[in-house]
């Protein structure tokens, strides 16, 4: 079984979705329990990954490779390094929580919803362990389909606009990636990522390929200015859709950068790193201001996601300057590790924030900030969690939100104090939009009658919020285990940055 652990992780939720589908809408509880069983089994399987993966040696491990499309030399190739392991475990963890979160909330065709979630989970795990570019691409595209279904079927009133925008936007980006992959294929004769990484490319080739990849991944992250699909998608998505979208799907973009841009086109990456750094800083500062004035809670958190993902792209690309110009490997490691930790942390924090909004939405069916006020009076325990996650969202030390941002800011100071200055601005603007939201939603007298009727969180919701809180606090208090898990893989990435291909 351990020889095919990765395949198991991918196919368990995908195949497990089939009996869930067959449970049908006539037996919703069977569908719910079946999907919970599958999600838990997948999570347990992912824990074996932690056991089997040797973090000290690093490199790609648990490799599986089979010829898939012989005529093109496409392989069904899977392997993981520390970064993948961390992302996969985060995915399976969140997987359980979205199933639990949707339990009685989704009354309309719950079997379809749960099945779509499981398939989505399997595909996402696949993305995080594909070692073949075409397999990656196929999975990268395939995750759009269940997400499309989730938003399209259980979404809000403007779901058609949102799904189309979401679909076309991301699809548009991946076309460029496909072209770049085809070009690389005709040069290297393979889609194997390790081979492509070793492929010598002129600077001109690298530049074209860099931008092709960048468009695909930047849309997914999303980076400014191709981020506007995200708020719309979040607003229309059901809670679980938002949680998976924010927690896991956005990481596919930055993960793609790590697997494609860094190893395949390092020189173009270094040359254009300033562009990414500038866009990241814009995401942190400008998007912060945009988030401040949102009237819809989900939009606000969606924009805050864009700002927080800015730290991931900043941390990754600041490493180029640190390695190549300053020759400071340690600082580059710090920035890159910060980006990785931020990916994981954002998964938990944004997932928790969207869950909290979902909890309120389920009671009042509104996401407008002005419809709330004084929620703490009727839901004190909920308020506790909400404040905790809000604090994590504005990067309070002791929560996971602090760790990555702290590391990226420290590293960027070494590249330029100005970059650090703009990045550190998140301390102010992040607190402003998050705590102003808390003030208007949680504190104060109850002014709206429907707030007075809100009921305290039930056992199921408490379970989900406690699980998120445990993850957020554990990472914040002791991040070293996560850092150790990814350390050797991040070191390898940073070493690759220094390699000139020209």
């Amino acid at each position: 079984m351990f020889n095919h652990l990765l395949s198991l992780l991918i196919w368990l939720p995908v195949v497990g979705a089939i009996p869930v589908l067959f449970a049908g809408s006539a037996r919703p509880n069977l569908a719910r329990w079946l999907s919970m069983l599958v999600a838990v089994l997948t999570f347990v399987a992912s824990l074996f990954l932690l056991v089997r993966y040797n973090a000290d040696t690093g490199g790609m491990q648990l490799t599986e490779s089979y010829l898939w499309i012989a005529s093109w030399g496409v392989h069904y190739g899977l392997a993981v390094d520390g970064i993948s392991v961390a992302l996969i475990v985060m995915t399976t963890f969140v997987g359980i929580l979205v199933i639990a979160g949707a339990w009685e909330v989704i009354q309309d065709k719950p079997h379809l919803y749960m099945a779509a979630m499981l398939i989505l989970e399997g595909l996402l795990i696949g993305v995080f362990c594909a070692t073949d570019a075409l397999l990656f691409y196929a999975l990268f595209e395939a995750i759009l389909i269940p997400m499309f279904i989730l938003i399209g079927m259980w979404g809000g009133p403007r779901r058609v606009y949102a799904t189309l925008k979401f679909f076309i936007y991301t699809f548009f980006g991946s076309v460029f990636m496909l072209i770049a992959l085809l070009y690389l294929y005709q040069k290297a004769g393979t889609f194997d990522l390790a081979t492509l990484a070793a492929l010598p490319l002129t600077f001109k080739e690298q530049a074209w390929i860099f931008f092709a990849f960048l468009i695909a991944f930047a849309i997914k992250v999303p980076m400014v200015p191709v981020h506007t699909w995200l708020p719309d998608a979040h607003v229309e998505a059901p809670t679980g859709g938002s949680v998976v979208l924010a927690a896991v799907m956005l990481k596919v973009g930055t993960y793609g950068m790590l697997r494609f841009i860094l190893p395949i086109v390092p020189d173009a990456g270094a040359h254009f790193a300033w562009l990414i750094v500038v866009l990241s800083l814009i995401a942190i500062v400008y998007i912060g201001y945009v988030a401040l004035v949102q009237e819809d809670m989900k939009k606000l958190v969606a924009y805050s996601s864009v700002a927080h993902m800015g730290f991931v792209t900043l941390g990754i690309f600041i490493a180029f300057a640190l390695v190549r110009e300053q020759g400071s490997t340690d600082m580059a490691l710090l920035g890159m590790q910060g980006a990785m930790v931020q990916m994981i942390s954002h998964g938990f924090v944004s997932g928790a924030m969207f869950t909290c909004i979902g909890v309120m939405y389920d009671r009042t069916h509104t996401r407008q900030i002005k419809d709330y006020g004084g929620v703490i009076n009727v839901m004190p325990w909920f308020g506790f969690f909400y404040v905790l996650f809000a604090m994590a969202n504005c990067g309070l030390p002791g929560t996971s939100g602090f760790v990555g941002e702290f590391m990226v800011i420290l590293a960027s100071f070494a590249a330029s104090p100005w970059i650090a200055l703009f990045a550190a601005f998140t301390l102010i603007i992040g607190a402003a939009y998050t705590l102003w939201l808390v003030k208007r939603v949680l504190w104060g007298e109850i002014t709206n009658p429907h707030v007075a009727e809100m009921k305290e969180i039930n056992g199921r919701e408490t379970f989900v919020l406690v699980a998120f809180a445990a993850a957020v606090l554990a990472l914040g208090i002791w991040p070293q285990p996560l850092i150790h898990l990814m350390d050797s893989s991040v070191s390898q990435l940073v070493q690759q940055l220094a390699i000139h291909k020209i």
Binding site: Y289, M331, F413
Partner: protein, 679 residues
């Protein structure tokens, strides 16, 4: 006798355990259980803090510096959680735990009728834990953790009565202003890591001399001195936490919180974290006289100008709040003249007498049924003698009457500024000297308005008792349901226990603290900057210093303030109104607090929202979604409309198109194909 790790862990964690028990298990342990566990936790910490202090001073224990666990290890960078306990830390531990313990006890009386009773105990224990983590840290990362954690608890406690619009405005404001400071602080930490390659105190301080001559490139032609950049950035953090001008605006508003936390957090401990931090960083600050001049000027400005505002306040707590700002300014001035031990000395004495004043004010507020306006008080001394006497004890310490603790710490600072040759010392000397008069004015005014003169309240003879603890303000001002009375022993006992050190601790500690090198290696002062060494030559013991004090300028200023206030508030109450009318413009400036709040609100709060709205409308909806996204969708629509016309349904159209396509395909292959085949 070495300090044991276990003892330090218990000191730090006992309040946290209390916090968790009171917070999560309140339903099972009840109100008495909640206050018992938290008080027990803090009492244990307090006793062990005294033990640690004893071990360090009498027992001859070496200073403790060990990591507990690795927070992250990346390349050669290590961030750990660990403790560094030297005499500076030990003193902070004792001050924090002692005041915290008394505040815990006091809270039993003050918050008795509050529905959030157990939550309050949980919060103040969490605060105590956070403060311990801050002062016991042995590295910058953990310092920042404690720094922000006390900020969080401050936020929660200012907004404790979360239904009040003013409280939830004040706590957001406090958090935001502190975040501006933390923004600088974090950049300072980043600069430390960049230049010194470590976050560990001991290593950083050992490497500090290597900063000399190093610069940071700001623009192509501008280089800034590394030590100056580091120290000013770090000090910006201290300006936020210790409420120095121009980041002082949050502290007066923080009075929205219940009075016990005003005493604990916003007077005695948290706001002095900035002072502690700069003292801790003395090996770095000593490298930059530019940064120290900056510190000096900021502190001096705060000391005088915030004190002036205190004179026109009518809210009993706000007077003390402005007094706190002013006294924090004095401490900062001491830092600015490299007199770190003096700053910490004043921090300690101030912690006692200011906590006493706040708790005394709280006692008055209980007696007045949550009336805080001094215009409706007066003559309270006969109703509450213990509060009255203890508050006088705190007041004479605050205004620095010789022999009181406040005298020793404050006069030493004033004298040190006079001795200092640092740039800005002349300005600072004027400020701290004028500040003595100002301190006297607001303090005596407050005492007279509260405890002396005629009663300006009436006692209504109506039935039904019941004043609502967190819902005051509905009754008519100046009308009390029943006569004020002295507070219960849980309230007065802490007052008495604070009055003793407020009066005495300075006399016994000034010698070793300032002139006996008590802090040892914890504080580093360059020989050229050492004003205390010069003063030490003229120091002949606390008795001589106090007697000498009677002949000095500060005492005469104090006496002047006393005479002015006594005349106005005891003998000629109409005078105050006349002076106010005569100095109307000045009064307005002070009453409006120099319009700083208004400017900040317009510029940063309103301005920020307007900027956000501008971005949102113009850029997000206008350019990106309007022009780029939906614009290109529009193009697609038009192209699609054109394409639709091609789908005419006529067979011959399709046939024609197919032939055209075939020609293009074959032609294309004929042109390009041989090239492809050749590869």
């Amino acid at each position: 006798m070495a300090i044991s790790t276990h003892i330090l862990l218990i000191i730090a964690l006992a309040p946290l355990v209390g916090c968790l028990l009171a917070g999560f298990l309140a339903r099972f342990i009840g109100r008495a259980g909640a206050h018992s566990v938290t008080i027990l936790g803090v009492a244990v910490s307090c006793a062990l803090s005294f033990l640690v202090l004893y071990q360090l001073t009498v027992g001859g224990a070496a200073e403790y510096n060990q990591n507990l666990y690795t927070w992250f290890q990346i390349g050669h960078f290590n961030a750990s959680v660990g403790f560094m306990v030297d005499r500076l830390t030990a003193m902070m531990l004792v001050v924090v735990s002692f005041v915290s313990l008394l505040v815990h006890v006091y809270t039993i009386g003050y918050m008795r009728d509050d529905p959030g009773y157990t939550r309050f105990f949980s919060y103040i224990s969490l605060f105590t834990f956070s403060m311990f983590m801050l002062v016991m840290s042995n590295n910058f990362m953990q310092l920042f953790f404690g720094w922000e954690a006390v900020g969080l608890v401050s936020y929660l406690l200012i907004g404790f009565w979360y239904k009040r619009p003013t409280a939830i405005f004040a706590n957001l404001k406090a958090f935001m202003v502190n975040r501006v400071g933390d923004f600088g602080f974090l950049l300072g930490i980043a600069a430390v890591l960049y230049f010194l390659g470590t976050l560990d105190y001991a290593t950083a301080f050992a490497n500090a001399p290597s900063l000399v001559g190093r610069t940071l490139q700001i623009t192509a032609g501008t280089q800034w001195d590394a030590a100056t950049v580091i120290c000013i950035c770090l000090f910006i953090g201290a300006m936020g936490k210790s409420a120095q001008v121009p980041l002082h605006v949050w502290l007066p508003d923080s009075m929205e919180g219940p009075t016990p936390i005003s005493a604990l957090i916003h007077a005695a401990t948290m706001v002095t974290a900035g002072i502690f931090m700069v003292s801790r960083m003395s090996p770095l600050f000593e490298l930059s006289s530019t940064a120290l001049s900056f510190v000096l000027v900021i502190g001096a400005t705060t000391a005088l100008f915030t004190g002036l505002i205190g004179i026109v306040q009518n809210d009993i707590k706000r007077v003390i709040a402005y007094s706190t700002l002013s006294q924090l300014g004095y401490m900062t001035v001491a830092l600015g003249v490299s007199m770190y031990s003096g700053a910490v000395f004043h921090l300690m004495t101030h912690a006692f007498f200011k906590a006493l004043l706040f708790l005394g004010a709280g006692s008055v507020i209980i007696a007045m049924h949550h009336e805080q306006d001094m215009r409706y008080m007066g003559g309270l001394r006969k109703y509450m003698p213990i509060t009255w006497i203890t508050m006088w004890a705190g007041s004479i310490a605050l205004v620095a009457v010789p022999f009181t603790s406040g005298f020793y710490s404050k006069d030493a600072i004033i004298e040190a500024v006079g001795e200092s040759h640092r740039w800005g010392a002349h300005y600072a000397y004027f400020c701290v000297m004028a500040g003595v008069l100002v301190t006297g004015l607001y303090t005596f005014r407050q005492m007279y308005l509260t405890f002396h003169g005629k009663e300006r309240f009436t006692i209504a003879e109506h039935h039904g008792h019941g004043h609502d603890h967190d819902d005051h303000g509905h009754h008519e001002p100046g009308v009390l349901a029943h006569a004020p009375k002295e507070s219960p022993w849980v309230v007065t006992l802490p007052l008495v226990l604070l009055a003793i050190p407020s009066l005495l601790v300075g006399f016994f500690t000034i010698g070793p603290l300032l002139f006996g090198n008590w802090f040892g290696s914890a504080i580093h002062v360059e020989a050229a900057n050492d004003v205390l060494a010069e003063m030490g030559a003229e120091f002949h013991g606390p008795l001589a210093m106090a007697l000498h004090g009677f002949t000095q300028m500060p005492f005469w200023l104090l006496l002047a303030a006393f005479i002015i206030c006594t005349y106005i508030y005891l003998f000629n109450p109409a005078m105050a109104g006349k002076i106010k009318a005569a100095l109307k413009p000045l009064w307005t400036v002070l009453d409006r607090k120099y319009w700083v709040d208004n400017v900040y609100f317009a510029l940063f709060a309103r301005g920020g929202v307007m900027l956000g709205r501008g971005f949102w409308k113009a850029s997000e909806q206008g350019v990106i979604d309007g022009a780029m996204v939906n614009g290109s969708v529009g193009v697609v629509h038009r192209v699609a409309a054109a394409m639709r016309r091609l789908q005419s349904g006529y067979l011959y159209h399709y046939a024609f198109a197919m032939i055209l396509g075939l020609i293009l395909l074959l032609g294309g292959y004929w042109l390009v194909g041989p090239g492809l085949a050749g590869q």
